[in-house]
Amino acid sequence: MAKITLSNLAHSYQPTPKTPADFALQTLDHEWQDGTAYALLGPSGCGKSTLLNIISGLLQPSQGRILFDDVDMTQAATSQRNIAQVFQFPVVYDTMTVAENLAFPLKNRKMDSAYISRRVQQVAQMIGLETLMAQKAKGLSADIQQKISLGRGIVREQVNAILFDEPLTVIDPQMKWALRTQLKELHRQLSHTMIYVTHDQTEALTFADQVVVMSEGQVLQIGSPQQLFEQPKHTFVGYFIGSPGMNIIPASIFGNGASITDYTLRLNKHYPVLSGVTTIGIRPEHLTLSSDSSGLPVELLRIEDVGHYKIVRTRHREIAIDVLVGKSFEHSAANCYLSFDPNFSHVYCDDWLVKGQ
């Protein structure tokens, strides 16, 4: 168990990177607190697996340092870091039984055999594999094999952190829920630091205490699911998290107001003069649709019923805006107006959140 510190860390797969675009991972400083469940969330190719492999030592960063409890581990080999990792595809040792698979990391570390069999039994109970212990790992279903991979990770008690690289990709949807719940439960029991890489926001938000949102090699925001939802620091975070994502509406900002085309929106904070592309970001949840003509006039395009609520797709001139409404919503008037919740109307300048006074 350890606190993991990334200091001035960056990585490029090219030998001599020149422009920032050459970096798969932009310069990053971060401290992973001991015992916290983190999720690394971002689209495919955003550098999250790179970051994970740097932490586990499978990859040497081209710049910066990694510290485990303030001890520099940048050059340390994977085996010295005492880290467990679960991969996208289940990795099991085919010729071994389930029990032998679980015992393998302990045997390699020359542990006492009485301890090994006790510990393996314990871990098997935690992940629900007791009945399969004598079976060969080959030929078991993907979710069970993934459980074995996970088991090999947690079988070492003193492991510094457990890393997950999109571990549920090949698992059937109904098993996904079960495994995710089990992971969360394991985190509660073991309180290891866990870092979970995924491109699925539901997985990230349900698993993690802290979510790290990445895009194009850059960490955009680190925060609790609630913070990411209510205060996205970057338009990408707003758009990527939530279904549908946050509306990004071009607007010019003046003092405590914003004008969207010829409509003026009151903001409850005062903003300085901004240079750059300014937008208003507001989540579909924080917009209300009414026939009150003081709002932003919009044209109704279509209504999607997703069960417990409805998504209304609207348009103001060429700007698409999504609104979330209750399931009892019925389309009435042709002319609709949107009113904004000023507490959740955020101002962005060049895609980054601007804090008002």
């Binding site: 990792q85 991969f87 990795v91 085919d94 090999r152």
Partner: protein, 288 residues
């Protein structure tokens, strides 16, 4: 729904049947024909039943050839399979010029016609002008493959290893390339020794291609003819007279068509039987 019976479909397989008949069935049946008859020339044949088979099965000379053959196949399998795996494990894995160069170098012996391989080694091993033969003599070894049986065996085995280890290397290399990186990464995290990585990851994953490699090397070496024929001609004495060399001697040298035909049928059945055992083992492995 009632199926219509259409016998015209047989016409479709006719070309293949004809081809197989001329390429395999007719020649094979000719051999069967010879194996149960005796002839004194003039195209006159006498029925002798299974006499030739009995003779061949009790022939001391063929027992000796079979013994030499089995020993040879065992030796080259024991050398080539581990050596092939070892080389494949140490081949560069990343794509690049160096890897391509290695692959071409490895594949080179496989591209040389067999009698040329024999000629190369025949010249290479000569004690007067051959690099290998002359060097060994110069180093003080009593090496002369035309007179000493051990030297002849050494030359033939070395030649076969040079010629065919590449096949094992290439097959194993292909098998190794198909192992996802995650396995090696997981092994690192589990602190597995390099022996464990081989034993629990690489060997199980290449098992399929390895069985094919063993099967091919078994079949080819058990039927070996061209290279030892060119290098030693089966000598000195009968020291390197393997089954097919003996067979050719019997059929063409002595013109004993009947015994030779019986011999080749038994030879054929032995190879088929052992190959079938390998094949069954392979299928069972896949089903597991």
């Amino acid at each position: 729904m009632k199926k219509t019976v259409n016998q015209k479909a047989w016409l479709m397989v006719l070309p293949v049947l004809l081809l197989v008949a001329f390429s395999a069935i007719v020649p094979l049946m000719t051999v069967v024909n010879y194996s149960v008859q005796d002839t004194f020339g003039n195209n006159e044949f006498f029925w002798v039943g299974l006499e030739w088979f009995e003779e061949v099965l009790h022939s001391e000379r063929i027992h000796q050839a079979l013994l030499r053959q089995s020993l040879f196949t065992a030796i080259i399998l024991i050398i080539e399979i581990p050596l092939g795996i070892f080389i494949a494990l140490n081949m560069p894995k990343q794509k690049g010029l160096w890897t391509s160069l290695c692959l071409v170098l490895i594949a080179l012996p496989l591209l040389i016609p067999w009698n040329v391989v024999g000629t190369i080694w025949q010249v290479f091993s000569r004690i007067d002008i051959g690099l290998l033969g002359h060097s060994l003599q110069a180093l003080g070894f009593d090496y002369n493959y035309t007179q000493d049986a051990n030297a002849a065996w050494f030359t033939i085995v070395l030649m076969d290893v040079w010629h065919w280890t590449s096949l094992v290397v290439l097959l194993c290399y292909a098998g190794l390339q198909s192992i996802p990186d995650a396995y090696y990464q997981a092994a690192k995290i589990d602190q597995a020794s390099s022996w464990s990585v081989f034993r629990y990851i690489e060997l199980p994953k290449i098992k399929g291609v390895l069985i094919i490699a063993i099967l091919l090397r078994f079949m080819d070496s058990f039927m070996i003819y061209t290279e030892p024929f060119v290098v030693t001609g089966g000598g000195p004495g009968n020291a390197t007279t393997f089954l097919s060399i003996d067979l050719v001697k019997m059929a063409i040298g002595q013109f004993d068509l009947g015994p030779a035909a019986a011999f080749s049928l038994i030879y054929f059945l032995v190879i088929m039987l052992i190959s079938w055992v390998f094949y069954t083992a392979m299928i069972r492995d896949e089903e597991e």
